[in-house]
């Protein structure tokens, strides 16, 4: 197909627009990074003239932050594992047309998506199950997201039925079909939904505040907020007297430290992302 001058102009405009959007998105991130490496006595700027890792060193010296980092990693890994097992085990049967009561079950699940009991009943349930001040409160509550479940169900529905039939003719059970046929073919959706769950757990803030009382169990966002609140406080005196980095550098370094794990994970699964969400998002 011949590309006209009009097409090329349009492409260039789109590219210019996307580059502008990229810059708008990128500049705040670069600024955060730049402020985090600003040494004591220098003005924070987008392109710093001097750099210091004092803020990172200072933060990494704080046992609270390291412990919280460990808690968040644990919660994210175990949360993703639990959520994925439950989501797959619910989505797969619901994707099978021969499941009795399939529409009713889907409707019941969908109902919880549209209406929920609210904060206090949920708190009462967690309390009466004796999950308060345990990680189970964070891992089990919201372990299955209805949105993710429906996306995954739709993805499973779009897989060719003939593959499953062939496996069954060869004597495979339902579980074997799921494990050996469906899951290997569903890598994009598994990684995509896994990332959704991971980000949710990683960013979880209010639930830990509500359900946990032992401060040692708190994940990174809670501790990070405490540190930032402390830095903003007029009472921030004792620690500041010993700091070797400007308070703003400490804040931004904390933001960078929290973001790094997710930034590292994303490139590995980015190539599956589009196919995962697109295929799962198609109505079936």
């Amino acid at each position: 197909m011949t590309r006209t001058r009009h097409d090329r102009t349009f492409d260039r405009s789109v590219n210019a627009f996307l580059i502008a959007v990229l810059l708008i998105t990128l500049i705040p991130l670069i600024y955060v990074l730049a402020v985090s490496i600003t040494p004591l006595g220098r003005t924070p700027s987008l392109l710093p003239t001097a750099a210091s890792l004092a803020a990172y060193a200072e933060l990494l010296k704080q046992p609270a932050l390291i412990r919280a980092l460990g808690n968040s990693v644990f919660l994210t890994l175990s949360g993703v594992l639990i959520s994925m097992i439950l989501t797959v085990c619910t989505a797969y049967p619901l994707s099978r047309p021969d499941l009795p009561g399939r529409k009713f079950l889907t409707g019941v699940i969908l109902f919880t998506f549209l209406f929920n009991a609210g904060l206090i009943p949920l708190y009462l349930v967690i309390r009466d199950l004796h999950l308060l001040n345990t990680y189970w409160a964070l891992l089990l509550h919201g372990a299955v997201s209805v949105y993710n479940l429906l996306v995954m169900k739709n993805f499973f529905q779009n897989l060719p039925e003939s593959l499953e039939e062939a496996a069954k003719i060869d004597g495979a059970t339902d579980l074997q079909v799921l494990w050996h046929i469906v899951l290997p073919l569903s890598k994009p959706i598994l990684l995509t939904i896994g990332l959704f769950y991971a980000v949710t757990q990683w960013n979880s803030f209010f639930e830990p505040v509500l359900y946990l009382s032992d401060a040692r169990m708190m994940p990174l966002p809670v501790v990070l907020r405490d540190i930032l609140t402390g830095l903003n406080s007029a009472e921030y005196v004792e620690s500041a007297a010993t700091t070797t980095a400007p308070p703003d550098a400490l804040k931004m370094a904390a933001v960078v430290l929290t973001t790094i794990p997710m930034l590292l994970v994303y490139p590995w699964i980015q190539r599956y992302f589009t196919s995962g969400t697109l295929s799962g998002g198609v109505k079936g």
């Binding site: 004591l40 006595g41 003005t43 924070p44 010296k61 704080q62 046992p63 609270a64 412990r67 904060l119 206090i120 708190y123 009462l124 309390r127 803030f205 209010f206 505040v209 509500l210 009382s213 032992d214 401060a215 040692r216 708190m218 809670v222 907020r225 405490d226 540190i227 609140t229 402390g230 830095l231 903003n232 406080s233 007029a234 009472e235 921030y236 005196v237 004792e238 620690s239 500041a240 007297a241 010993t242 700091t243 070797t244 400007p246 308070p247 703003d248 804040k251």
Partner: protein, 514 residues
């Protein structure tokens, strides 16, 4: 046959075990939820020094929960209350939530505890006016601590710039504007560039020890103070009680801020800047005059010194207005508010709570909570607690409950606010600065503000007044009779009169106005 010595040992062990068992049985589990004094420090761990000392001295097995600040903490307390699961002893900062919990019967009257902690009651709960903040239907529902650190703010000036430009510290609003203009236009830092600002202030409603009132926040309260209208309410008007925003002097103060803006002596971004931005500015050496606390000075001192090795910061007394009025702003003599849940009181935990709080009031308990482990974290030098440890995190963890102990007395403040030393040997005594700003700034105690119920549309009222004033002072809206009338007329649409009426009723009932 058993050897007599073995028998004696066995008997001794049994007796000891019985004693320890009896002691263990006496230990009372106490759940305490407070806003952490040092949120940036690690949380207490199982072998927490302070926790061990508390158990040994008071028989209280303390379970400490750090409440998150702001709405998250309120939501947490609200959820716990709804589940009848409130901690035994907890701190509350949102007074609307406090009154709500009283009405719901979730918190217990605390009068019965006072006799059980005589020293603490004498030191902290003897002020009838302050106790009025926690009384409801003749019952005392909270332990209202006095403020241990208030009025720590003031206007700081670059004394070295003042001397370089051969100027005197301003004492009136006109002199203030002149000095600010000189700091902006006469290159006080000598770098050949016009990159300094006369006055640095931001719109900031931080309430740490001060009550900013409606409008432009505490960085401009001194202007309203110079016109005799600091804070939200006019307490002295008697039956003609009204908000200060109704007073003609309020407009005059606003016009003065406009003059500062028009003279370009303020950072052009001041209306959108945050406190941290302002702190960056003065630490960089960009501000000749600015509003800051002694805590903020300590926090930013190293950075300031790195940028301004010869810099010299002082507090200036708050400037006078045309009629001689002067005030840096208003403050509340009310600190931590402690509440006991009804559940705890019904379970008979009152005596344990009283014993714990009494221990925290003075002597060993006070020092342990306020300053940490004696010998390891601090020593007493001439009666002043002096921090000695290099293990900052450990000490801050040990003092997470310090707001239960702090009393704001001279020795304590001298311990907390020591001396800052410049590289060239000069030093600044922060305690003296604190006393200076308290003494010279005519701070007005308006603790009564705390009993004023928030209007149902409080956020709308706050936003309307604040945004209108910003528009006036930035010149986005003309400041004349008509526009000012339009502004005050706009309050009618927000039922501002109803808010004033409720405020008057609450203040009158509490004895804060006649």
């Amino acid at each position: 046959m058993t050897h007599p010595r073995t028998t004696a040992r066995t008997l001794a062990l049994v007796t000891l075990s019985a004693l320890l068992g009896a002691h263990a049985q006496k230990a009372t589990d106490l759940s305490v939820a407070l806003y952490a004094a040092n949120p940036e420090a690690p949380a207490p761990t199982a072998g927490w020094d302070t926790g061990e000392v508390i158990r040994a001295r008071t028989g209280v097995n303390l379970k400490f929960t750090m409440l998150p600040t702001g709405a998250d903490g309120d939501n947490k307390l609200g959820s716990l209350a709804a589940a009848n699961d409130l901690p035994d002893l907890f701190e509350i900062r949102n007074r609307n939530l406090f009154y709500q919990l009283i009405r719901q019967g979730q918190v217990a009257p605390v009068s019965s505890l006072l006799a059980q902690m005589p020293q603490r009651t004498k030191a902290r709960y003897g002020n009838a006016m302050r106790n009025g903040l926690v009384n409801e239907n003749g019952q005392m529902y909270g332990l209202q601590e006095p403020a241990t650190l208030s009025r720590q703010y003031g206007i700081m000036i670059r004394q070295d710039w003042l001397e370089k430009l051969n100027l005197k510290a301003p004492t009136t609003l006109d002199e203030f504007l002149n000095v600010a203009r000189a700091f902006t236009e006469r290159d006080p830092d000598g770098n050949g560039r016009k990159d300094t600002f006369g006055y640095c202030g931001v719109i900031d409603f931080d309430t740490a020890g001060i009550l900013p009132g409606l409008g432009l926040g505490n960085h401009f309260q001194w202007v309203y103070g110079a016109y005799g209208v600091p804070g939200t309410w006019n307490y002295r008007a008697g039956a003609a009680f009204a908000a200060n925003v109704r007073n003609p002097n309020y407009r005059k103060a606003t016009e003065y801020v406009r003059r500062l803006v028009d003279a370009k002596v303020m950072d052009p971004d001041w209306a959108t800047m945050k406190r941290s931005d302002l702190r960056n500015r003065w630490q960089q050496g960009k501000c000749g005059l600015f509003f800051e606390s002694v805590g903020g000075l300590i926090a930013g001192f190293k950075n300031f010194e790195a940028n301004n090795p010869k810099g010299d910061l002082r507090f200036v007394p708050v400037p006078k207005g045309p009629a001689g009025s002067r005030s840096m702003g208003t403050f509340a003599n009310a600190g931590t508010l402690l509440v006991v849940s009804k559940k705890a009181m019904d379970a008979g935990k009152g005596p344990a709570i009283a014993k714990f709080l009494e221990w925290a009031n003075s002597g060993e308990g006070y020092y342990q909570l306020a300053f940490g482990k004696k010998g390891a974290d601090y020593t007493l030098v001439g009666g002043i607690p002096t921090v000695t440890t290099t293990n900052v995190n450990g000490r801050l963890t040990n003092t997470q409950l310090r707001f239960l102990a702090l009393n704001g007395q001279a020795a304590e403040l001298k311990g907390r606010y020591g001396t800052l030393k410049f590289g060239d040997g000069r030093s600044v005594n922060v305690y003296n600065l604190l006393m200076d700003t308290r003494r010279t700034n005519n701070w007005i105690d308006r603790s009564g503000d705390l009993v004023v119920p928030a209007a149902p549309n409080q956020a709308d009222i706050d936003r309307y007044i604040s945004e209108s004033l910003v528009q006036f002072v930035l010149g986005q809206r003309p400041l004349n009779d008509d526009s000012w009338k339009a502004f005050t007329d706009g309050l009618n649409g927000l039922n501002f009169a109803g808010y004033e009426k409720n405020a008057y009723a609450a203040l009158k009932a509490g004895g804060f106005v006649k």
